[in-house]
Amino acid sequence: MTMTGLSGVAAGLGTSGIDAGSAESSAAPFSGLFRSMVEQTSALDQQASSTVDGLLSGQGVDIHQAMIATQKADMAFELALQVRNKAVGAYQQMMSMQF
């Protein structure tokens, strides 16, 4: 089922902290998880754009640092996107169930 696909994505990273969040059985564990993912993605994106600004303005940023920061932001964004896609797919599948 698509829920196993989700934890497959998380396991593929090897060192993720997602398991801690999803183990709780509070009211909406997934929405809390997803919100924190979005926040972290936007934080990484901020960092990447400030690093690239530093590079362009001639301050002491090395080009490889800017590249690495950009790549990290890209990966975080892709991950959040895939999680969202899977979640939406799971929702649609649930909705299409005939009882």
Binding site: T4, G17, I18, H64, A76, L79
Partner: protein, 120 residues
């Protein structure tokens, strides 16, 4: 959520140190004819080990300790820059940088393919 692995953090620091080494080498080569100039350098392996031990949440950029390199012969004008040593450092840093970049690319591409993996 963590998109980086321990390996990619280590490689990022490796690239940082290698580019520091490159800057010092360029400065040394530029000053090969300056009277009284002493070769500047740092111990790469030691600095890298320190950076590795330091991590665990601490991702600040720390600069290596730059000191004068000993064991070099001074010429009469006080300059002790050896072109051979600097040439070797130049080639080595270039290759190290290339190595770091290739390994990092590999790391990132495996994370990306994990993200895009289709669940069955």
């Amino acid at each position: 959520m963590q998109v980086t692995t321990a390996m990619s953090d280590a490689l990022a620091r490796y690239l940082d140190l290698t580019s520091e080494q490159m800057k010092l080498t360029a400065g040394n080569m530029a000053n090969v004819d300056t009277p009284g100039y002493k070769t500047q350098g740092f111990d790469f392996e030691q600095e890298f080990a320190q950076q590795m031990n330091k991590e665990g949440g601490d991702s600040s950029v720390s600069t290596p300790q730059v000191q004068e390199v000993d064991g070099l012969v001074s010429r009469p004008d006080g300059n002790n820059v050896s072109m051979d040593r600097e040439g070797m450092q130049l080639a080595k840093s270039q290759l190290q940088f290339r190595l770091g970049v290739e390994l990092l690319k590999h790391e990132y591409s495996s994370v990306m393919s994990a993200i895009h993996a289709e669940a069955k």
